[in-house]
């Protein structure tokens, strides 16, 4: 599964004089090999890495660009009508209605966006995988509870639920007994709550089919416990689908975060968020197009890149043509 194995194998088979073994790869080796051949997905992955670096080193990026911090309000940057000024050498992306630098806010917005979408995806995937595995493996009432919860969640107007929860939890002491505090954790919790259903359903289906495999019977007849079978036999076979699915959930969650922020149920001001920037920009769009354009482009590019990587991973998992 690691590069070490590949080398070892090549070496081993060389010594054995058995060339056919060189071509033999584990399913995950084949998976990564196919993925590496997908240029679009690789370029998108490059963009995502770049974006993550920008988000992590936002202060450095802003310092290099020479722009003021994201929350620095400078009313001198508004023109004589109190309107923001457009792109210039000092402020390449222009400034917003309060005189804050749009470049800095877009860069810090990447932080918000990635932090929330990745965290929410991790939580939703974790919850979904655990519940999906339990439902698929144990069946019976466990499956009934999980599957019906998934059905109910999918039938829910999740966006309204998210809005309600987000505004409910962003007041004062938060909600769920103070567990969910206003701010980023609220948004993460809301997004995770509405998105765990998809991995749960997917994993349940996969486990149902893996459970039928004779290696599960073999393990049971050797005396393995359910826990051992689930984590040692079944889970390793789910790693690739989990990676693929999580990669497709991230862009959805980026858009969800942007939408929540746009509707005022996202991270509280003044934290920079692409959705909130677009929301603010709507009222002054006629005079300050740049305030909407740059965060808008950022959302589109980011979601697109994640989707392309996700598609590449999906193709690598289910190759249409044999390789």
């Amino acid at each position: 599964m690691s590069t070490g194995t590949l080398l070892e194998e090549a070496f081993d088979s060389d010594a054995m004089g058995r060339p056919e073994v060189v071509a033999a790869r584990t399913p995950s080796q084949r998976f990564w090999r196919r993925f590496r051949q997908d240029r679009v997905a690789l370029a998108s992955l490059g963009f995502i890495v770049f974006l993550i670096l920008v988000a992590v080193f936002a202060p450095v990026v802003v310092a290099i660009a020479g722009t003021p911090g994201p929350n620095t309000i400078d009313s001198n940057l508004l023109n004589s009508f109190g309107m923001p000024t457009g792109p210039s050498l000092e402020h390449p992306f222009g400034v917003d209605g309060l005189g804050r630098d749009v470049l800095s806010r877009t860069v810090y917005g990447a932080r918000t966006s990635l932090e929330i979408s990745i965290l929410a995806t991790l939580i939703a995937t974790f919850v979904g995988v655990i519940l999906g595995m339990a439902a698929g493996f144990f069946g019976g009432w466990v499956d009934t509870i999980v599957s019906r919860s998934v059905d109910v969640m999918l039938a829910f107007p999740v966006f309204l639920l998210a809005l309600g929860l987000a505004s409910g939890c962003s007041l004062g002491n938060g909600c769920a007994g103070g567990l969910i505090q206003p701010g980023i954790s609220t948004v993460v919790a809301v997004i995770a709550l509405v998105s765990w259903t998809y991995p749960a359903r997917l994993i349940r289906g996969q486990v149902l089919s893996l459970k039928q495999k004779e290696f599960v019977d073999a393990s049971r007849s050797l005396g393995a416990s359910n826990t051992r079978i689930i984590f040692r036999e079944i889970l390793p076979n789910l790693v690739v689908p989990i990676i693929v699915y999580a990669s497709l959930m991230i862009p959805t969650n980026i858009l969800l975060e942007a939408a929540l922020s746009f509707l005022g149920a996202g991270v509280p001001a003044p934290t920079a968020s692409w959705g909130a920037m677009i929301s603010d920009a709507t009222s002054i769009f006629e005079t300050a197009w740049w305030y909407m354009l740059f965060p808008g482009v950022a959302i589109v590019l980011t979601a697109l890149a994640f989707n392309l990587v996700g598609d590449g991973l999906t193709d690598a998992m289910n190759p249409r043509a044999s390789d």
């Binding site: 004779e214 019977d217 005396g223």
Partner: protein
């Protein structure tokens, strides 16, 4: 050879057939195993033979406690397997191991062969982790005819026959008393089958194993078993010592199975190629035991005897419908299509 290791009594497994998604309603049951009894003597090899779907795997899976019986007893050294739980069940599992049918699905594709064979030792905490276990794994690999150097490889790097050897190594790692081999060669190339059969027979002899050997045709069992149980629609139709079964089959179904055994000599091909179809034609007197399920099943299962259907399955036999137990098939009478019924005792028209 005299005292029984396993006594199976009135073993029954019914699978409910349900309808409905949320509110499931049972509308019937598949009687997969329907009252099976037999003794398995210490050190013997018992063949369990019957066509696909007659309940062989279900029987094996109940004995290996992969499935709970609907009713019945399975006394292993006097202890009822069905009643075992927890620690005592885990202990009993050491004594009963299984070799599975499909060498592709029976090995986890994500695990290295060494780890697959080591798993039983790990589960039961046998030997010290590390060198001792690896040595044992390599011994086992050597024992089943695999290169011990290959313990670090993944299952997909092996051929079907080698994979089945891995499955055998895993099954004997705990030195079981009873080995159940569920059609261990039916997924393999004919050229490989004999190697695996020989391996199992050698192991049986060297380790003093008691073996239950499952197959869907008698040719495989012939050279393996001391006694053969012929299973038919969830029941044991006939249980006899090997030679007696071949010499004097008591049950018409056993005759059918014998008729399906392809003859190795090319000269006799003509005779056996009538195979099942020929059997149907000649044995109308047995219609009462060959019920609808059987013939329909058989009509679809050309794998049972590929040669029997080399010239195609007779059209009329394919189109048989049933009126109670009476077979009927469409015939053209001039330009009118009618149904022809076969009276009990009447011969099938040989066209």
């Amino acid at each position: 050879m005299s005292e029984p290791l396993l006594q199976v009594r009135d073993l029954v497994k019914h699978f409910p057939i349900t309808r409905g998604v949320v509110f499931q309603k049972q509308i019937g049951a598949v009687q997969a195993v329907d009252g099976v009894s037999f003794d398995l003597m210490r050190g013997e090899t018992l063949g369990l033979v019957g066509e696909t779907g007659c309940g062989k795997s279900t029987t094996a899976r109940m004995i290996a406690r992969l499935m709970d019986p609907t009713s019945g007893e399975m006394l292993f050294e006097g202890q009822d397997l069905a009643a075992l739980k927890g620690r005592s069940l885990k202990q009993a599992r050491r004594d009963i191991q299984m070799v599975f049918q499909d060498p592709y699905s029976s090995l986890n594709p994500r695990k290295r062969v060494g780890s697959i064979i080591e798993e039983p030792l790990r589960i039961h905490g046998l030997l010290k982790e590390g060198d001792a276990r690896r040595k044992r794994v390599q011994e086992l690999m050597d024992r089943v005819g695999l290169n011990p150097e290959h313990y670090n490889r993944f299952p997909h790097e092996f051929s079907g026959g080698q994979r089945q050897r891995i499955g055998v190594a895993r099954a004997i790692a705990l030195e079981p008393k009873l080995l159940i081999a569920d059609e261990p060669v039916s997924a393999l190339d004919v050229s490989i089958q004999a190697q695996i059969l020989n391996l199992l027979r050698d192991l049986q002899r060297d380790m003093g194993l008691t073996m239950m050997f499952i197959a869907h045709d008698l040719s495989v069992v012939r050279h393996m078993c001391d006694r053969v149980a012929v299973m038919y629609l969830g029941k044991i139709a006939e249980l006899a010592p090997n030679e007696a079964l071949y010499a004097e089959p008591q049950h018409p179904y056993t005759e059918a199975l014998l008729a399906a055994v392809p003859s190795p000599e090319p000269g006799r091909r003509g005779q056996t190629s009538q195979g099942l179809a020929g059997w149907f034609l000649e044995r109308q007197r047995h219609w009462p035991v060959v019920d609808q399920l059987n013939i329909h099943h058989r009509a679809k299962d050309s794998t049972l005897c590929p040669e029997c259907f080399a010239e195609g399955f007779p059209e009329w036999l394919r189109n048989i419908t049933w009126r109670g137990r009476t077979p009927a098939w469409p015939v053209a009478l001039g330009c009118v299509a009618v149904e022809r019924e076969l009276a009990y005792g009447e011969n099938f028209p040989l066209t």
